[in-house]
Subunit: 567 residues, 2 copies
């Protein structure tokens, strides 16, 4: 492939709208073109990268007995109504009607389609277990696409669905798939990806893991224990707190004029937020009914845990006069009726607390939960903190890191097989629901994550297994016939060896050539130039700068081939 | 791959809703599963076939300097508004709004996306020519999906777009692409596909070809000259007629009570339809205004030609009283005003004709077009007929055949570059519009067409290049340890040679095994059985029944490999 004919512009200036490096480099290198918010076209270099990633994923899925199939992008609403997700999923699912008025959706995940494909087939236990997967385009109407290919609306995903007759069998397969994922990340060049326990979100099920590439630009927060290696998405990480000593004090109303925040009140009363009971108010999306969550004043609410507990979506409340709720002065004692009240575990048997008195400009001191909020039930609604206690080993060694989720695996259980009435007959002739697992990897996001992990200021440094080409051949001063001739011949020799060559024979300066080569990030660069020709050599360097060699012109193709194999 | 784990049911009975063989066999063989009208999921055997077809297409597109890219499935309405097709394309384009209310469409073709991708890049003549292509899912809301994968709503397509600075360059590339298409059809196993001149339809442009697999179940009609080899889609084929002699007669009104059709009137008056002037009435879709087309009574209207001439969509008219049009008695003389009147070339200088008198129960005889419809303009609106005159060699040797369109190529001209303002600077510094070509192949339809061309009553006979597997290994009486052991070993040996094996070691009868093998249509079948083992042999047969061999068990893998290579 001649670079002079490669469609796409390369340039030096970082586009101002690019917040993360992979986005900037993919725009600067002619990899992607924005068509609409969160919707991109891919130029040839990215397409070559994603095809290689897809092939690696395909091989690893086949190696764990996956069967490649294809589900539709456009699906009838009916199968989503069967599972109940046509109602439970919000605006992120694109919906439309066909010419006859039938409701259709765009697939953002394919559990329903997988059950639809196999439920007539897998009626006997003897057919199990099995796994089907596809690599296909999906559309999810994200509210906030960002960071180039990291969070988009249209994306290509490998999604796999396994079906089992026992939880043990699912767990065994889940572990095999976990290992396959590790091999995938290693093969595409990011062996540093870690798996963390995660929240299952809208997928249903209980056990799930996310595969995270740790990077400051990641949008997920991950709790990792420095002692035992425990790791979990902050959304899922249990918040463990040390018990505090009991303080005997009377519940006493105090005047706290115009003090609305915990910090103001605690400052005024000479206390600290961890000695207070904070109220955080939400409303359910479906009917705007109020949910008041009490939590220790120094902690933050983990809204994922709260949503899971409630089983519905919520948003921060706008408190009206009519509600009777006294914003800024809310407490567990004397609260209005008709609202849902929840208590975080941080308050369990806590005492000596400051809290609102449900009366404007008044708080209580001396709140004793066991005494003043008798009968309260406590659940874990708090965010784990940096320096917090590890739920696994109990040591205060939790560190919070940021990461990009580059894959996820779920033990789904029978959520979809039950709702969609997929059954099989077991050995004893009894009708049962199969147990499912599902396993996803976003291909474009993975490509961007590899770029995020492996780049310098001049461009991506693509790992050899997924690089768009293997050798970037530069003919410096291609206007000189001997340069052109030597480079043409070398290009031919490399291609005859089956190597993938991007060949720059443009009549441009060496500087332009090399900065373009940096942006394409090809593992090896070979330079034919008048100076090199005088010495009868070709200069060979690696994109990651670990390697710089000279080879005799006549041996150059062989040398390049063996250098590439050692990368 | 073990057949016992292959997801999908195979069965004998032809489904009653399957009109064509490829549809019936793909359902019976566990290739496809219907999810909604015109929307299918693919099981593994079909996915393996389509991936092989895609790879052949990819190699041939790369061989003519194509650059694989990817366009979005979901596109903003804005780029379709630029080209004008957001308005001109009807209900077949799926439209919806995103969460912010922005209008989006699903791609049914990607000319707009191609121009969007390259228009900032290709600003100088030096960048031309180039071609970009993708293999991607498309959605077209067909009014009448039919025949399994032959006409669907969601499909995978290879679509390519080339850009040129001169018509000559486009034509040269168009010819290269034509040859690449011929290689593709040959490689996937249907060298019998022919190319025919076609109508460009909504794509714009003038010159275009369709690639047709001739088969009685095809939905296209193709005119082929038995003398000179001329071929064209009936939609595009020019209708040539011999001139008739002039007849001198007076225009005479005659009473023709209750005779509405040409046949009735001609019978009553002792004439024949080719001596009549028939009126066919349409209404424009956009405003229901009337279009009256006069054509010789023995000919049929080619509505594609009529639509192209009018530049808008039409439908057969429902004639109201108020219109003043006398249905059944319409003629060129004394017709109401305010309607569009068109004349087919078959009437040019015709005379002695019967026609309606625009008065209920009256016709004229003796119509002389030159005299009575002076000033009429004549265009070609007629359908070419079986036995008709070849527009190329002039001989009456036209035969009408039916075919499936398995690809098409278009010379688009500047329709999209002009409307979307894509320009480049030529050698002389002048701003010009590039000239485009586009080139499509539907992957699933091609797979179904190959099946249609190559099958017997028991199943598809897949050509070796696209067969889902290469060898179908049957272990008959796999319950006998020596059979199982020999078959397992042979399977291992074949796989070690890199052959793709589907291995049936189920404990089912030979009859069930062989009918499943027929449905999977794999080129070679190898049978290990107690009887064969006694003789120390493996039976090898080809799916197309041209080959039946016995190989010594120890040589079987090598024999199978070399037999496969000779197929």
């Amino acid at each position: 492939m001649k670079l002079s004919k490669l469609v796409g512009d390369r340039f030096k200036e970082r586009p101002t709208d690019c917040v993360v490096d992979s986005h900037a480099l993919m725009v600067r290198g002619g990899y992607i073109k924005l068509m609409a918010n969160g919707i991109f076209s891919s130029y040839m270099p990215l397409k070559r990268i994603t095809r290689k990633i897809e092939q690696i994923i395909r091989e690893e899925m086949d190696a764990i007995d996956g069967q490649e199939v294809q589900f539709p992008v456009v699906m009838p609403a009916s199968i989503w109504q069967e599972s109940g997700r046509y109602e439970s999923i919000g605006a992120e699912m694109a919906r439309f009607q066909d010419r006859s008025g039938s409701p259709l959706v765009l697939g953002m995940t394919h559990e329903e389609a997988a059950v639809h494909l196999v439920r007539d087939y897998a009626k006997s236990y003897a057919k199990y277990p099995f796994m089907v997967y596809q690599i296909q385009t999906k559309f999810r109407d994200e509210a906030r696409p960002r960071a180039g290919l990291i969070r988009v609306r249209e994306f290509t995903m490998k999604d796999a669905y396994s079906f089992h007759t026992s939880q043990e069998d699912l767990e065994e397969y889940y572990a095999r798939c976990h290992k396959a994922y590790e091999r995938i990340y290693t093969r595409v060049g990011v062996p540093e990806v870690i798996s963390v326990a995660s929240d299952s979100g809208m997928m249903g099920g209980s056990v799930s893991h996310e595969f995270m590439l740790l990077t400051p630009i990641g949008e997920d927060s991950i709790a990792i224990c420095g002692e035992c290696g425990y790791s979990a998405n902050m959304e899922a990480a249990e918040c463990i707190l040390e018990k505090t000593e009991h303080v005997s004090a009377e519940l006493t109303k105090v005047h706290t004029p115009d003090m609305h925040t915990i910090e103001e009140v605690c400052g005024f009363l000479g206390s600290s937020p961890d000695k207070s009971c904070k109220a955080v108010v939400y409303q359910r999306n479906k009917d705007d009914s109020y949910v008041i969550l009490f939590i220790r004043g120094d902690l933050e609410v983990n809204e994922t845990k709260l949503t899971n507990h409630l089983g519905c979506e919520i948003h921060p409340a706008e408190i009206t006069e009519e509600s009777g709720i006294k914003a800024g002065f809310i407490g567990p004692v004397g609260l209005v009726d008709g609202v849902t009240v929840l208590y975080d575990r941080s308050l369990e048997s806590a005492s000596g607390l400051i809290c609102g008195a449900n009366e404007t400009d008044y708080h209580y001191t001396g709140l004793d939960m066991a005494r003043d909020a008798a009968g309260a039930e406590y659940h874990d609604f708090a965010k784990i903190r940096d320096g917090g206690i590890c739920p696994h080993c109990g040591k205060p060694a939790i560190r919070i890191s940021r990461g990009i989720e580059v894959g996820n695996i779920f033990q789904l259980g029978t959520k979809y097989t039950k709702s969609m009435d997929m059954t099989y007959t077991d050995q004893n002739g009894e009708i049962r629901y199969p147990i499912m697992g599902c396993y996803g990897i976003g291909v474009g996001r993975l490509a961007a994550s590899v770029c995020e992990a492996h780049h310098d200021e001049n461009g991506p440094i693509w790992p050899k297994a997924i690089a768009p080409w293997q050798v970037h051949l530069c003919a410096v001063r291609a206007d000189q016939p001997e340069v052109k001739e030597a480079a043409d011949r070398l290009c031919g020799e490399l291609e005859a060896k089956g190597m993938e060559v991007i060949y720059d024979d443009r009549e441009v300066s060496a500087g332009v050539m090399f900065s373009d080569a940096d942006l394409l990030g090809v593992p090896l660069r070979a330079v034919v130039s008048p100076r090199n020709l005088k010495q009868g050599i070709v200069e060979i360097t690696s994109r990651d700068k670990t390697l710089s060699e000279k080879a005799a012109l006549e041996d150059a193709a062989s040398v390049i081939e063996s250098l590439f194999n050692t990368l």
